[in-house]
Structure formats: structure tokens, C-alpha cells
Symmetry: C2
Subunit: 241 residues, 2 copies
Amino acid sequence: MNLILLHSDDFIADSRVWLRGRRLEHVVSTHRAAIGDQLRVGKLGGLIGTGKVLALDREKLELEIHLDRQPPPPLPITLLLALPRPKMLKRVLQAVASLGVKQIYLINSYRVEKSFWGSPLLQTEKLQEQLLLGLEQARDTILPQIYLRQRFKPFVEDELPQLTAGTAAYVAHPPAASACPFGSNRPTTLAIGPEGGFIPYEVEKLQDCDFTPVSLGERILRVETAVPVLLSRLSDNCGKP
Amino acid sequence: MNLILLHSDDFIADSRVWLRGRRLEHVVSTHRAAIGDQLRVGKLGGLIGTGKVLALDREKLELEIHLDRQPPPPLPITLLLALPRPKMLKRVLQAVASLGVKQIYLINSYRVEKSFWGSPLLQTEKLQEQLLLGLEQARDTILPQIYLRQRFKPFVEDELPQLTAGTAAYVAHPPAASACPFGSNRPTTLAIGPEGGFIPYEVEKLQDCDFTPVSLGERILRVETAVPVLLSRLSDNCGKP
């Protein structure tokens, strides 16, 4: 937790918050904060800044907050990700949120196990939990939007053309002849398949929507490795301190 | 397991192997292989190719192997990694091996918890297990070398200058003024600190060894995300299919 995220119902006045539970615990056990200390805070959906510890006991933490800066810029990449197994999904969502992706479509694919769609992790608040962990890690405040699309064909045919309009669209496909390009920071749509990859029919459907298949070379990477590798390669704002 | 790794004691003749245990199980339950099927195989430290199933029962798998291709090229990057917590170390080692790093130094840093150095995971065969999983994933056969360096100062002063000679050396350091460059595939040494980063003294010691501090921007990433992001950014052979 490199940033304490403040929710609107934490506010007891314009610049005062009370925190309890997980955030209080973290400030006590990890920051070992004392009265007068300044902590990094950000308002969910808003600015980032500092919170001065006014009071701290076992019950609650009171901060006087001063928000004066924009959160880091988002990645201009919309991610379509074949639903990974729940355990991996948790880690991937945290990573994706920390890297600044703001639009995530979890989609079906032939090689996605049907049971994954029944995971309790797909409940809105559970997904959000993982995304919040990613924001806290990266000191960001803008919650990504996440969409579940359990039927591949209607999604690709009815929704995808609008989504990709005006963007460069790539599908990660190990046998592809083109190498994944280095980023230019232009709006991009990136599709990443399941372990084992998209099947040829799915790649063709994506190509019909102007996706270019791109490869990362001979090495087959796990989804959790491929995601940061591809996002890092396709974007360049990661290089601007 | 995208490649079945063969060890020298699997060979019962020049081009025949017997496999048991984990690899047999995987071939039965995941590949659902039958007699006559061709499987991807590679000899640890050597060539890759195919193995034709000659016999298969509950006890063992017999393959006739034909090895004719080089494994994928290595990443010309030596990685110095402040020892992460054991659970994360497992995943990071698998990812690093799958990405093709061949020289890994696990080093100490002020913010590395002392207890991590006592983890049973640091036994040679346990470390190797994780690396083998990474190789099987990426269809590689060349086992990375891994070195444990529990004392920062003697490592940096006595060993590092020779290691970095002739390489571009970078230390990932979020407050750095320079952006992490895009890769040129030249030999590189990359140092990545613990959660919370290297302390200023450590960054200075690395700078004395000609390391350039580089940043990935405002976002603070978890080590397991920063590692693939940095390796992807610093190398370009990932783009050659």
C-alpha cells in the first residue's frame, strides 16, 4: 500500500477523514505512523496528496488531508483478456491496475475452462478489491472499468468494432509473423488469449475486426508474464518519470 | 509444460528415453497422448525437437526422440535481484527463466527481511525446480545459473566490477531522473531492489560501479510486475519471432 485510498464515506469534513479496518491496520503495522506524520493519500477517482495524522488509536485513524496533484496518467490501452483461472486472475488484475490500464474486458475463448466463469471472484466487489490493491500499489486513484463477456462471438461481432475504432489493435499470437511493436502511446486495443492461445477461428474473427496478430518470439509465456511484457512494450509513458 | 525436458539419465539408448513421475503424468492427463503421437521435447542443456510415443502405460512413457533445433536465444541480461519473499521468489524465478535470463544473482539489500535468507526454497534443487518450470513453459533447455549473495557490500565491491565489464548497467530506482531505455539487445546488467527500493547508500554503491539509475515513471510496481516490464523494455529479441 504505497497510497492510502480514500472513499467518499471516509470524509467527516472537507479535509478530514476517519479510517478503520485494513487501512488503519496497515498504517499502524507497516508505516508505524505517529501523530504528526504525513502519509500519501489519494481520493478514489480524484487527486492525490498527503494526509497528516491527527489522531490514532486502535479504533480509528484521523487524517487532515491535502490533495493537490493528479494521479499518474493512464495507459491508453484497452485490454481484452481471455478469462484466466481465478488464482491467476487475481494477480493479473492487480498487475494490470498497477500498470494503469483503465478498460478491461474479460472475454471467453474456446480454451477458457467453463468453470472459471462460475468463480466467486467474478463478483463486482471481489474484482474491485483486486483492482484497488493495484491502485494502492501504483499510487493511482482511477478505478479501471471491468466488463465480463461470456460469449465470444456476439462480443466480437456486435461490440468490438466500436471499441477498436480509432485504435491500433493487436492480438498476441505466438505463431504470428509480425513482432509486437514498441509503443508509441497511441490508443491501442490488445487481446491476450488463454493458456494455449486463441484458436484459429478466434484469431480470424479478431482479424476481421482489424486486429494484427503479433508475436513475442519463440518463447511461450504464462499469461501473468505476457501481460506486463506486452503492456510495457506497447506503451511508452512508462518511460516518463 | 510446453516442452518435455529430458535429463541425461532418462536415456536408455541414443534416441530412446523412459519417463516416469511428473512428466509421465502430464503427458497422460494434459496431452492425453497416445502411441504414435509426437511431443515437443528438449534435452536439458541441448537441442530441442520431437519425441514419438513408442509405449505408454501407468509406469512409464517411452519416446523415440529426434533433436534438431537450437533452443530460443537467451536474453543477454544479467539480473541482480534483491531477494524477494519466498512466495514471490518462486513466481519471479519461473518468469525470469521463461523470459530467457541466464544469469541471476539474488542479493541482499537493507530492506530484504533477514528471514528470507533462511527459506528452504533457497536450496539448490528447490531453486532449480522453479527454473525448470520456466524453461518448460518457454520451450527452452538452457538452465539459468543462480548465485546467492547474502552480503551486499563485498558483492558490490569485489565481484560486481568484473560482472558488469562491457555491459550497460541499470538500477531500477523510481525517483531516478532518466527513463528506462528501450532495448538494443546489447549485454546488460539490471539491478532490481526489494519492495520499498534500494536505500540511497545502495544506489550510490551501484553508481560507483557505473550503474545508471532508471525509472519506470510515477507508478510503483510490485517486483513480480517490474521484472517482466523491465526485461521486456531492455531487450529486443523478444520481438523476433
